[in-house]
């Protein structure tokens, strides 16, 4: 029996909607489970990903931890896939790029309506925010891009089928959506 293909997934600055869409492949998950094994993912709760065949990255890059995770995925995954609008162009989190980081922090933690005990979080455990939210391809090389907000379950299935077969994934017109 051939060794199972290892897949790792993570969400950076995203809403986990892409992961939810991935789960929407429904009963096809069982077919997938026959041929793949999950490394780091929300299903396994593994902290650091090991050597993998496919890495799926949801979300943009908004802080130092996102950079570390992304680089770890790149170093460990033979194929890295940017999943969804946030990973591809920054998406909703990138809307903060039009404001100064300082103004965002002040609005969220100090001056905003209803803020109780106003203070800017300053725990050394917290990852530092980047001045801008960036798409993942601006940090590491990305092999494939899966568009959509989120990509539909059929897009996930189409991509994974192709990658597992060793083909370049391609999408028919009706599956390509940026919204």
């Amino acid at each position: 029996m051939a060794a199972k293909i290892k897949i790792a997934t993570t969400s950076l600055a995203g809403c986990f909607g892409c992961h939810m869409s991935f789960l929407d492949i429904d009963e096809r998950l069982l077919k997938l489970a026959d041929v793949v094994e999950f490394d780091r993912s929300p299903l396994t709760d593994i902290e650091h990903c090991g050597p993998c065949d496919i890495g799926l990255i949801e979300g943009g890059v908004c802080n130092s931890e996102n950079v570390h995770v992304l680089r770890e995925f790149r170093a460990n995954c033979k194929i890295l896939v940017a999943v969804g609008a946030c990973a591809i162009n920054g998406g909703l989190p990138a809307l903060r790029n039009f404001f100064k980081l300082e103004d965002c922090l002040l609005e969220a933690y100090q001056d905003g309506i209803g803020v109780d005990n106003p203070q800017i979080p300053n725990d050394p455990e917290l990852p530092l925010l980047l001045d801008k939210v960036r798409p993942v391809h601006e940090i590491v090389k990305i092999d494939y891009f899966m568009p959509g907000c989120p990509p539909s379950a059929d897009v996930f299935w189409s991509y994974l089928s192709a990658l597992i077969e060793g083909r370049d994934p391609t999408l028919p017109y009706e599956l390509v959506h940026y919204d």
Binding site: K4, I79, H137, E138, S161, I164, P172, D179
Partner: protein, 279 residues
């Protein structure tokens, strides 16, 4: 003058005054464009319709059709250039399709779909651009302006008003409004003006009309832009599609090259082979 020209192996008739892009559309041959619009004078700014005519590079929207021309449009290198041009348009502005009212009805988005553009390739500018929602019926989100000049031309040539203009050059180029305050509310634009409806992206929007058609049921959710553009032309001309072949080396469209809507997402999963890709 009329006659025929050859576009990607298809014999296409043309009539007096038609450009290559109009002759192609009438014959059901789609050449991508954004700054062009039927009934408007040729402008030639977006360069998406760049084709090779008798071996030389030209914009199909500005070059008059002539008898015996050999036009190459659907070649891999021209498609590559078109995809890169479209990607540049996406990174120069702020095009967040999931939060745009025009999504599904947007020509820029539809052209990108047509070209199978899956990423933006270039680093994003995240340009700082303002929103003008001052007018009671119309708003401008400068984030999405691609400087196609269609609103400028519509206001001047169709509405007789000159509400819009393009100021500045290069990265400082911007759409301006001809009013004392620079705001749309102080201009003489009306919601019935053609300029309010001509924008190929979500830059100029008519308020309270965004969700008349739900997402998923909009024009380009249902039909590729190649179909929409050419069907309108074919209906107008009262002609059926399908002409003779003039060159056996006709190239497939990008979506055909990608395999088309077939069994990509059939509910089967093959046995796990070795992953063949590397970094």
């Amino acid at each position: 003058m009329s006659g025929t020209l050859c576009i990607d192996g298809i014999t296409v008739p043309f009539s007096d005054g038609q450009t290559i892009i109009e002759a192609a559309r009438s014959a059901g041959v789609y050449i991508p464009y954004l700054c062009h619009r039927p009934g408007y004078a040729p402008y030639g700014s977006c360069k998406l319709c760049t084709v090779k005519v008798n071996g030389r590079t030209n914009t199909a929207c500005t070059l008059p059709a002539a008898d015996g021309q050999t036009v190459i449009s659907n070649s891999p290198d021209l498609q590559y250039d078109r995809q890169r041009i479209t990607q540049m348009l996406f990174v120069e502005g702020n095009h967040f399709c999931p939060s745009c009212e025009k999504s599904g009805n947007c020509q820029l988005q539809a052209v990108a779909y047509h070209q199978n553009m899956l990423d933006n390739h270039y680093p994003h500018f995240y340009a700082q651009r303002e929103l003008d929602a001052s007018h009671p019926d119309i708003l401008i989100d400068h984030d999405r302006c691609i400087f196609c000049n269609l609103c400028v031309r519509a206001s001047k040539e169709k509405d007789g008003k000159e509400v819009f203009g393009i100021a500045g050059r290069g990265i400082n180029k911007r759409l301006i409004v001809n009013s004392p305050s620079g705001k749309l509310k102080d201009s003489d634009i009306s919601v019935n003006d053609e300029a309010a409806h001509v924008c190929p992206t979500g830059a100029i929007l008519v308020k309270r009309s965004a969700y008349l058609a739900p997402i998923g049921e909009r024009i380009y959710d249902q039909h590729p832009i190649s179909e929409v553009a050419c069907e309108k032309a074919a209906i107008k001309a009262g002609e059926a599609r399908g002409y003779g072949s003039c060159d056996p080396t006709r190239l497939p469209s990008p979506s055909q090259q990608n395999g088309g809507p077939d069994s990509h997402y059939a509910a089967t999963m093959p046995p796990a082979p070795d992953i063949k890709h590397g970094r």
